[in-house]
């Protein structure tokens, strides 16, 4: 009886979890049009359709990848980098994406191999897709419940205590991994999209310019005003940059 009940609870939780993950839309007309436009080298129009899909909740691997390709063809390498690295969060082991990222890094930097650590980093963080991670956590929780019940019943107290401890250990580990993914996914980052962008001492373009940086440089947003971001860049440079010179999660 108890086993049946547990199975029922487990299945019910799975159904609840899966309702958070949407099903595929069954009207791909616009997308096919965009693919056709891309084949005809009309990248701008194809990009408009992809952007529209992105805004309509298609923030996934395929759309980000395709937007990156369009921007690459339009020689906007900063935006291409932003979208390819965003796509990396969904499928970090995709070989096409790996190739495209390397091509983009070649365009924005003289030493593209320095950026390989970004790909490795994302592959470690996103090794488990989010759905798999949540599934593992839920499963481990169910095991903990089952072991606890059996423990309370007094059946082989020591064994189930050890099993509970092990399960807890893995739950904590996977939960930590989940939070690492969560914070990385929601991290506010930006990439420079202008050929040359200035970094200022304060959020005012009449103030002193600390440095000029080139297209494709990425940074972490620390603070913001209405028109400026305070950014910490890859080369440990801290300063304010005009929002129009960068692309960020928010600007999308």
């Amino acid at each position: 009886m108890i086993n049946k009940r547990n199975i029922f609870i487990f299945l019910y939780l799975i159904v609840i979890v899966m309702t958070f993950y949407s099903l595929e839309n069954h009207s791909p007309v616009d997308f096919n049009k965009a693919v056709k436009l891309y084949k005809e080298n009309d990248y701008e129009k194809a990009l408009d359709i992809f952007k529209n899909l992105y805004i309509n909740h298609y923030d996934n691997f395929n759309i980000n990848y395709n937007m990156g390709c369009c921007y690459f063809k339009l020689q906007e390498y900063g935006r291409a980098r932003f979208h390819f690295e965003r796509a990396l969060k969904f499928k970090p082991f995709d070989s096409d994406l790996f190739h495209n990222l390397k091509a983009t890094y070649n365009k924005i930097s003289n030493s593209p191999s320095d950026y390989e650590f970004i790909i490795m980093n994302k592959r470690i963080i996103y090794f488990f897709p989010i759905q798999v991670l949540i599934g593992i956590i839920i499963t481990l929780f169910v095991f903990i419940i089952i072991f606890a019940i059996l423990l309370l019943k007094g059946i082989n107290f020591r064994l189930f205590l050890i099993l509970i401890a092990i399960s807890f250990f893995f739950v904590i580990t996977f939960t930590s991994l989940f939070f690492i993914q969560y914070f990385d996914y929601n991290k506010k980052v930006c990439v420079v999209i202008e050929d040359e962008a200035n970094i200022y001492l304060s959020p005012d373009d009449e103030n002193a310019i600390l440095k000029s940086i080139s297209e494709g440089t990425k940074g972490k947003i620390v603070n913001e005003t209405s028109q400026y971001y305070r950014v910490k860049f890859e080369n440990n440079l801290n300063g304010w940059i005009n929002k129009e010179d960068v692309i960020s999660n928010e600007s999308l």
Binding site: S22, L23, P28, L53, I134, F141, L152, Y182
Partner: protein, 579 residues
């Protein structure tokens, strides 16, 4: 003399020929135009030209034109008709123009004369039957629908043209083109830059306009009609007294085309290609290194249904990477075409590889049979590549793995062809799930702890309750035993056993002891810490007495039983009061 525009007073002289290529004895027209002068005269001696060139005056006209500034300028036009009696390349001109006392010379024009009637011009045909042409204005205007063939095979080409012959002035209004079969593949052959040329038909000179010319391919066997074309124009009315204009509408005859199915193909190579072709292939280099690439070039030339030929068949060793061939069509004179395929071959490793261009089969319209053009086999040898270093040494490369990232990663791959799933804040929802799970776990633990506490608390309370009510319960039981002693049929053993159990129960509840059975030997060690010694001895005596009745076989009467009950009551009362 150079032609120029503007307000200069010098005349502008241009010379033009109706066609740059004619047949022997085919007539052509030379037009000399002098702009800016109404009184210019042509003073050229035609005898100074090549003796094979025969030129005659056709006419002279003058006109006045006002330009945008209001300045009026005059133009004189001389028209000459000529024939050339021998094939070759000839120069006509320069012509000398006299204006007053000044002389001007035009540039020369070149013309090519070919043998027979191979040119694209309509040749002199004096034996044309009037029922083949549609005519108007007493034969002043003729229209003719010409087809090169009326019986063809599937996909075999045939040419069709609409020729309009004009003996006098006309003003074009509109043209309704030929109605061709819907399934036909049509190639336009009209030369829009071509001027009308002069031809002689039935003893009269006409200007010949080729209104339409097409090459048609019909892919399916059957019989088809080509509906006639119609030309509407205003022309000279020969019956009018004042040479007035009259609207005319001329329609060609229609044509019936029969398309036959292709004969059975016994070559073993399926094909739907019809025409006449030549075929060649070559490879850029048969010996390359791992750094290099080779190009396989396949060329197909001839006349036929190129539109049905996408790719030619070739086989490449699996160790070679071949890239989608790019193909170009080079057209010579709209009829003869050459299609070229270039396939890029890139080796992955050292070795010798086969590249085979397969046979090409088509149906020859001249020989009326299937022809197989043999393909070619190439052997591509790939050796180790070398790189010259700055210090003069060389590095031998084994495979393309040694190519640097910068060289490999220059362009991106193709886009993804599916849309993927919607992403309704996956991470936020996942966070809710995780938090919910942990909350559930913590809540469960709290509930568990709470329940344990409550149970323990209740357990504690029930012990106190039992302790406080122990003597009262005992008294009740003693009263019930006493009542039983007044009954007629009393069971002394039952009452004695019940008394033992009641005493045990009292001590268990009073002192929260584990349930045990008192015996004469264990009662003292069990109770000596809980009960005073004097009471303990009394309890022991009572238990001994009870055991003797139960197990010792000693009888006890009702009176003594009652006394025993009273004694138990008073001893226990004293123990209970002592606490």
């Amino acid at each position: 003399m150079l032609a120029y525009f503007g307000y200069s007073k010098e005349p502008e002289v241009t010379v033009s020929i109706s066609s740059s290529e004619v047949s022997v004895n085919e007539s052509f027209q030379v037009t000399i135009e002098i702009s800016g002068e109404a009184n210019a005269s042509l003073s050229t001696d035609f005898d100074s030209f090549d003796p094979h060139i025969i030129l005659n005056y056709s006419g002279r006209s003058s006109s006045y034109v006002m330009d945008f500034s209001g300045t009026t300028s005059a133009t004189t036009t001389y028209t000459l008709t000529g024939i050339i009696t021998k094939e070759g390349d000839y120069t006509i001109g320069p012509f000398t123009i006299t204006v007053g006392s000044k002389k001007y010379k035009t540039e020369s024009a070149t013309i090519k004369v070919i043998k027979g009637s191979k040119s694209n011009h309509t040749t002199n045909t004096t034996n044309i039957k009037s029922n083949v042409y549609s005519n108007a204005g007493n034969g002043m205007y003729l229209i003719y629908l010409n087809t090169s063939k009326t019986t063809v095979y599937e996909n075999e080409y045939f040419d069709i043209s609409v020729d309009f012959y004009v003996a006098d002035d006309f003003q074009f209004r509109n043209y309704k083109a030929l109605k061709l079969p819907d399934i036909a593949w049509i190639e336009n052959l009209e030369d829009k830059n071509k001027r009308a040329n002069k031809v002689a038909l039935n003893g009269r000179y006409y200007y010949h306009y080729q209104v339409e010319k097409k090459r048609i391919y019909i892919p399916k066997a059957g019989e088809y009609d080509i509906k006639p074309a119609t030309i509407n124009f205003d022309g000279y009315d020969p019956n009018s007294f004042f040479f007035s204009a009259k609207p005319y509408s001329l329609q060609t005859k229609s044509k019936h085309i029969k398309v036959l199915p292709l004969p059975k193909n016994t070559t073993g190579i399926p094909t739907d290609i019809v025409g006449h072709f030549t075929f060649k292939s070559k490879i850029s280099s048969e010996k390359i290194t791992t750094q290099d690439s080779a190009t396989l070039k396949i060329e197909l030339s001839g006349e036929g249904n190129f539109q049905n030929i996408d790719n030619l068949s070739y086989t490449v060793d699996s160790a070679l990477e071949s890239y989608t061939p790019k193909s170009n069509i080079i057209t010579k004179n709209k009829l003869h075409k050459t299609k070229v395929w270039e396939i890029l071959l890139i080796p992955n490793k050292v070795g010798t590889y086969n590249v085979t261009v397969n046979d090409f089969c088509y149906f020859d319209i001249v020989k009326k049979k299937y022809i197989v053009l043999k393909g070619k086999k190439f052997s591509l040898t790939v050796k180790k590549g070398v790189v010259k270093n700055k210090d003069g040494s060389i590095t031998i490369l084994n495979d393309i793995d040694n190519v640097t990232d910068t060289e490999t990663y220059t362009s991106i791959g193709y886009i993804k062809l599916s849309k993927g799933r919607k992403n309704f804040n996956v991470y936020r929802n996942s966070l809710i799930v995780v938090v919910a799970l942990y909350s559930l776990l913590i809540l469960s633990l709290l509930i568990l702890v709470l329940m344990k506490f409550i149970y323990y608390f209740r357990l504690q309370n029930s012990s106190v309750l039992a302790k406080n009510t122990a003597f009262r319960k005992l008294q009740k039981e003693l009263n019930s035993f006493e009542k039983k002693t007044r009954q007629k049929n009393i069971n002394i053993n039952e009452i004695v056993a019940g008394l033992s159990k009641s005493i045990e129960k009292y001590f268990i509840n009073k002192f929260t002891m584990d349930s045990i059975e008192f015996t004469t030997t264990n009662i003292e060690p069990l109770l000596n810490k809980l009960v005073k010694h004097e009471y303990l001895q009394q309890v022991k005596d009572i238990m001994i007495q009870l055991d003797m009745v139960r197990f010792g076989g000693i009888d006890i009467d009702t009176k003594k039983l009652k006394e025993l009950i009273n004694r138990i009551n008073s001893v226990i009362k004293k123990i209970d009061l002592a606490g």
